[in-house]
């Protein structure tokens, strides 16, 4: 097979233009993007790292709108054994934020007229808003029953609405509707009730007063000084300090996002600092000169800037966790610098920068290509965070690659007298002894890994659990527990998205779904549900309701007679009824403000030319019947985001596991284009061993095979091969010098990924652990498997 030759570049000053072109182009593009497209942002939302829900792309946009509206909602409870103290704390907190830009909406006090407005709404639309039971009675010729029940209600002990509209609502239709609302969950209140002028609950021996609100877009920016969560925590701390008996409970996605992103930021600082400090110290110790350190730090800085710029170019934003993953770039990039400076310092045979470049270009290029291919594979992952990471790393690697080959040759080499060959300790073992030792170590690792896999085989199953990706702090977990106990609403975490060509069709579709949900309620599979059409039926239904209500008219005289009104009242009633025919309720109409606010949560509205809303089942026994139910309608989508994503990730993980051997074969072919069969065999044996060892470590850890661990395995496939390339190349000329460079580059890379393994963020931890284990195995494998390089390869190198 004809081998690929790598060019010698003897003009040291020409390639600098490549470096300048690439970096300047990215910088200018980012600048233009900023000018043309407005500010870019750093995304700190935890949920945004999850992939789009699979299998329902047509509703994904609607779901995103829905989530966006509700993800800024928060609930804060001021608690104390004494109600007055709890209320005082809540008022103090509320006063500190009301009218500020932190919240878009914030409420503590209860509107004094809300009850009157709601009953007023039911009264105003009493014919159009008939409940289903009442309408059924009317349509089945039982209007008399309704009339009699109204009289019994009037003279009975209790009505849900007042009697002061009795002359225009003698059949108590508004009262019937109110009763229906009360008997459903719609007016359920959990443990909360109005005490004095606030919402309060007594729970586990304490009084809790609730503040609810929605952060403003600037307030929800969780990592900067405007962070609403940070301000709330500070304010609550001050209040609690003044009254030690007071505690605060927090609930809502922003609190979790804040916690996770704060942890991520701390970890970025820690990982970056530790990595850099150790690398700098290592460089200073090894090279005994500040130049390699300064040049490497400058190069890393340029790489990170370029990497961030590239991500912004492609995604118009950069997620904070991309930085966490991206810190590993430091270790990878440093590999290139190490190889350059090792030869610059210790290889007097290479007189100029151009000669050094020519000497290392083949191994660096193979390393860059194989690593780049693995990063590029992540571009196809469904995780936005991984795609950003891939772009970040590819751009960063390219920058470092160009720096090592295009800029570093400018550096003047040290005086020849200062450049001496590195002295390696003599190994007093025969070649046969070394070979035996290598084999022994190899089989020891192989046996230990296989044994570990065998005894822990039960843990090696494909499993992705979204819940495990984020470890909630103990205090926040306790907060959510108490909040859930107080609110006690019974949401199962899944729901329906209903669609229609226009609002009227959407409401009709909701009603069709609601009819099926009512059957589930009758069968005991569901307690209740929420939907916009419960408050605002479709116009068709409202008109049918009105038509049904006409059947009450013959009973008007009798009704008023029993209620003690003069006969002419019936005629007034009929005129009023006729006028009410046009009185229909529509979304956005004159419905009570608080109900309108609620409907705006459920009512998603127009997205891409189609209308969407959410229907929320509550206290359902199992979800399976509802999944089946959704399949019966073209316009209904069942949404259980977490479960669907987990299922999708499991499938993806399985596919990746199946593709991994295929990828190995493809890379083997590529390697064979450059190396001899013997070296190709050595190189390609590495992925097998590192996968085996990594799986064994994951099995011991009980981590299972998740998406992130399998992604890590694919990545180490690319990174791990580098060591074989370097080691095999080293046999040609520089020998132990390159082994030394490999050891140093392994140390820096392993340091970066090893630091990730210490992360508290589970995906980062698993990813770091996987890559660290794989890299360590790859490094040891490179040492064990590197024997005499074939003469064929000698020919191809310069």
């Amino acid at each position: 097979m004809r081998k690929i030759f790598f060019p010698r570049i003897n003009k040291p000053f020409a390639p600098v233009y490549i470096w300048i072109f690439f970096h300047a182009l990215t910088g200018i593009a980012v600048g233009l993007l900023y000018i043309a497209g407005g500010p870019v942002r750093v995304n700190t939302a935890l949920l945004d790292i999850l992939p789009d829900s699979p299998g329902r792309k047509h509703t994904a946009a609607a779901e995103k709108v829905f989530s966006g509206r509700t993800a800024r909602n928060v609930y804060i409870f001021a608690g104390s054994a004494d109600f007055s103290a709890a209320r005082r704390a809540a008022v103090s907190l509320y006063d500190g934020f009301a009218g500020s830009g932190t919240f878009e909406t914030i409420s503590l006090y209860i509107d004094e007229n809300i009850m009157a407005r709601f009953t007023g709404y039911l009264y105003a639309y009493r014919y159009a808003l008939l409940d289903a039971d009442t309408r059924n009675l009317l349509e089945n010729g039982k209007a008399r029953e309704i009339a009699d029940a109204a009289l019994a209600r009037a003279f009975g002990a209790f009505t849900f609405t007042g009697l002061d509209t009795i002359e225009t609502d003698p059949f108590f239709l508004a009262d019937l509707r109110m009763k229906k609302f009360l008997s459903s969950s719609l007016l359920s209140s959990g443990r909360l009730s109005v005490r004095e002028d606030v919402l309060a609950a007594r729970y586990e021996g304490l009084w809790y007063v609730m503040i609810r609100g929605a952060f403003s877009p600037s307030g929800v920016a969780i990592t900067n000084e405007d962070s609403a969560v940070r301000k709330i925590y500070a304010s609550c701390e001050n209040i609690a300090a003044r009254d030690p008996g007071v505690r605060f409970i927090y609930s809502g996605v922003p609190f979790h996002s804040y916690q996770s992103s704060s942890n991520a930021q701390n970890e970025i600082s820690l990982i970056t600092t530790i990595s850099l400090v150790i690398i700098i110290l290592g460089f200073l110790f090894f090279f005994r000169s500040p130049l390699p350190v300064l040049a490497s730090v400058a190069a890393i800085g340029a790489s990170l800037l370029l990497a961030a710029g590239a991500v912004v170019l492609f995604f118009r934003e950069i997620h904070v966790l991309t930085f966490v993953f991206g810190t590993t770039l430091i270790g990878t990039c440093v590999d290139y610098y190490i190889h350059y400076f090792i030869h610059r310092k210790w290889n007097p045979g290479l007189g100029t920068g151009a000669e050094i470049r020519s000497h290392i270009i083949r191994s660096l290029t193979m390393s860059f290509v194989s690593t780049g291919i693995c990063y590029a594979a992540l571009l196809f992952a469904p995780f936005m965070i991984l795609r950003q990471f891939a772009v970040f790393s590819l751009a960063g690697l390219l920058s470092s690659f160009l720096t090592a080959l295009c800029l570093y040759p400018y550096l003047k080499n040290p005086n020849p007298e200062k450049r001496r060959r590195m002295k390696f300790p003599a190994v007093k073992t025969s070649a046969a002894g070394l070979s035996a030792l290598r084999k022994l170590l190899f089989f020891a690792i192989l046996t230990a890994s296989l044994g570990c896999l065998f005894f822990n085989r039960h843990t090696l199953r494909v499993e992705n659990t979204i819940g495990d990706m984020y470890t909630v702090s103990e205090s926040l977990r306790e907060s959510e527990r108490i909040a859930a106990g107080i609110l006690n609403h019974g949401s199962a975490g899944w729901y329906f998205i209903v669609s229609g060509d226009n609002p009227e069709e959407l409401l009709r579709h909701e009603e069709a779904l609601s009819a099926e949900l009512e059957k589930q309620i009758a069968g005991g599979g569901l307690k209740h549900y929420m939907a916009t059409s419960v408050f605002i039926p479709s116009l068709r239904t409202q008109k049918e309701n009105y038509a049904a209500a006409k059947k009450l008219l013959p009973f008007a005289e009798r009704q008023f007679e029993y209620l003690g009104f003069p006969p002419e009242t019936a005629e007034v009633f009929r005129r009023d009824f006729a006028a009410a025919e046009a009185k229909l309720s529509i979304p956005g109409g004159d419905i009570p403000e608080y109900i309108n606010n609620f409907i705006s949560n459920l009512w998603i509205g127009e997205v891409n030319g189609r209308y969407y809303s959410c229907v929320l089942p509550l206290q359902a026994k199992t979800e399976e019947p509802f999944r089946i139910l959704a399949d019966e309608f073209d316009f209904v989508t069942f949404v259980n985001t977490v479960k669907d994503i987990e299922t999708e990730l499991d499938s993806l993980t399985r596919v990746m596991l199946l593709l991994f051997p295929a990828a190995c074969i493809i890379v083997s072919v590529v390697v064979r284009l450059v190396y001899s069969p013997r070296d190709t065999l050595k190189i390609c044996a590495v992925p097998f061993l590192l996968t085996l060892v990594t799986l064994a470590v994951l099995a011991l850890r009980g981590a299972g095979l998740g998406f992130f661990s399998v992604t890590g395995i694919i990545l180490i496939f690319g990174l791990g091969l580098d060591y074989m390339f370097y080691t095999i190349e080293s046999k040609k000329s520089s020998g132990g010098l390159t082994v030394c460079a490999v050891a140093l580059s392994f140390a820096t890379t392993a340091l970066s990924f090893g630091a990730l393994a210490l992360s508290t963020f589970a995906p980062v931890h698993i990813f770091g652990l996987t890559v660290f284990t794989g890299l360590t195995t790859a490094f040891i494998s490179a040492l064990l498997m590197s024997g005499k390089v074939s003469g064929e390869n000698q020919e191809t190198s310069g």
Binding site: A157, L182, S188, S193, V194, L602
Partner: protein, 222 residues
């Protein structure tokens, strides 16, 4: 947590967010006499008498006054107060109906019509309402003190108790309650937010040890 919790808060508000009781309580002399250390022992004594009876039965006359229309609706029937089960209002005339208020439910029925049961489990406002009604009619002194601003006056053996609910959820149904009696409750007047009122006059009290099966069945939705 759920994104819909705000709505539950709205629901609570719907039940409980009615206007606070007018700054001036109903025109009744009892509201000039807040419960004081001097009257507290007598308050406890009267509540003790009411509370010691497991069951109280009798008849009632109900008069609903609709202030805006200047009309009244008068009805009558039987009542049952069971310390454990709850309260039943069995209206007999002019139109029969029954309402039973248990610890965590309300059952309404009309002759020939199905019973409808409103579950209060998980609905704090309903539970509070039920608890309050129970406290009022069974003389649960502790709950009365916890949930109302209490007023008390006494003339001879006759006493009058004025109650203003502390919680908005209760105020939406009853802005103020005035009870009067001697060894038993003789009348209860519930003043609503809009100026309407309901007055119950109780008579022919009896105190059986327990209820008959028919009476117990009134507390059942079946």
């Amino acid at each position: 947590m759920s994104r819909f919790t705000c709505f539950f808060a709205v629901c609570i508000a719907l039940l409980g967010g009615a206007p606070l009781y007018p700054q001036t309580p109903p025109d009744n002399p009892v509201f000039q006499f807040p419960l004081s250390p001097a009257t507290l022992p007598r308050f406890h004594e009267i509540c003790g008498v009411l509370a010691k009876r497991p069951v109280t039965k009798g008849i009632f006359t109900q008069k609903k006054n609709i202030s805006r229309l200047n009309r009244s609706l008068v009805s009558g029937g039987n009542f049952i107060i069971d310390a454990k089960l709850g309260i039943v209002w069995e209206t007999l005339s002019p139109f029969p109906s029954t309402m039973a208020v248990g610890r965590d439910y309300i059952i309404q029925s009309v002759p020939g019509g199905a019973k409808t049961k409103l579950e209060a489990a998980g609905n704090e406002t309903f539970l509070r309402l039920s608890e309050t009604l129970s406290a009022v009619f069974t003389g649960d002194a502790q709950r009365l003190l916890e949930n109302f601003k209490n007023y008390f006056t006494e003339t001879g053996a006759a006493w009058t108790l004025g109650l203003i609910p502390l919680e908005g959820s209760i105020r939406s149904f009853a802005a103020a309650i005035i009870m009067s009696g001697d060894s038993v409750i003789r009348s209860v007047t519930v003043h609503e937010q809009n100026g309407d009122s309901i007055r119950y006059e109780l008579s022919r009290h009896s105190f059986p040890e327990e209820l008959g099966s028919h009476e117990k069945n009134l507390f059942s939705a079946h």
